[in-house]
Amino acid sequence: MTNKVAIIASNGGLFDAYKVFNIATAAAATEKEVAIFFTFEGLNLIHKEGMHHLQVPVGGEGFIEGFSKANVPTIPELVDMAVELGVTFIACQMTMDVMGITADQLLDGISVGGAVTFLEFAKDAAPSLSF
């Protein structure tokens, strides 16, 4: 049985971030080896500035209060936990080039790679998830 969970994060909103980092931290806490491939708008989730100002989707404003009521950690807190639990972050080089993002704008210590870097990790992962 494989012990890997592979996640693609390709959207950059607040709800997207929760889906990605909740699953990632829960998997890592369950002794899984976890890698997240951040591509297109997903890069926003590991952007030093952007991750603090993630947008709520139109119509979802009403849920904001629910987050604090349910005592849900903030995204930067979940990112710290993911890093501490050993989750691997891979930023998509191609998207960075297209969007004019440099590695120093992203979280420190993450790896930058192409699609094959992720595919190599994901080839025997179960589940593979895309958000």
């Binding site: 909740n22 931290t25 829960a26 806490a29 369950t30 002794e31 349910a70 005592n71 639990l85």
Partner: protein, 184 residues
């Protein structure tokens, strides 16, 4: 409930109860039990699933209104479950013996409290060596734990101390779910 460590995750939502449980278990010794106090209703499904996935033992849950008290025992997840003691009996054979046999349950007392065979004596493996004098070397004793591993060690210990009729019960309490007596 006698536990080794306590963890309070009241008020916290998923995935925090799992993350904090992982950290707490990591800092504990094998065989120790952790009490996790939670209010997240999702923890009722998540903590047993976490145990299933990691190889630790979800002992049980006590609900006190909205407060959920979970009990988790740290297992040696690298253990291969190898058993050496030759004299064994199956659960089914044990339960058919008449008159009622002498059963020694060598699990932790908290596991015993969550469900044991009626009439079984609780004697956690860690205390057995100190309390051998309370048993009779000429009698037959059937030793049981969750999976047969701890009772395997306990059988060897008793035989090494001169007990003549010791039997390990396999596969153990993990497969007995009916007619259990509880102390909770």
């Amino acid at each position: 409930m006698a536990v080794d460590e306590k963890l309070d995750v009241s008020g916290l939502a998923c995935p925090m109860p799992i993350i904090k449980t992982k950290k707490a278990i990591a800092a504990m010794k094998i065989g120790e039990t952790l009490e996790i106090i939670a209010t997240d209703a999702g923890s009722k499904a998540d903590l047993p699933a976490w145990a299933q996935s990691t190889g630790h033992h979800y002992v049980g849950l006590i609900e006190e209104g909205a407060v959920l008290k979970h009990y988790m025992r740290k297992c040696d997840v690298t253990m291969t479950n190898e058993m050496h003691f030759k004299s064994t009996i199956t659960n089914e054979e044990l339960l058919k013996i008449s008159p009622k046999p002498n059963i020694i349950d060598v699990r932790e007392s908290i596991e015993y409290d969550f469900g044991h065979i009626k009439g079984a004596v609780s004697m956690p493996l860690g205390e057995l060596a100190l309390k051998l004098a309370s048993f009779d070397q000429e009698q037959t004793y059937y030793l049981i734990c969750r999976s047969g591993t701890r009772s395997d060690l306990a059988c060897k210990l008793m035989v090494d101390h001169g007990f003549k009729h010791i039997v390990n019960v396999l596969p153990g309490m993990q497969s007995i779910t009916t007619d259990l007596e509880k102390n909770i």
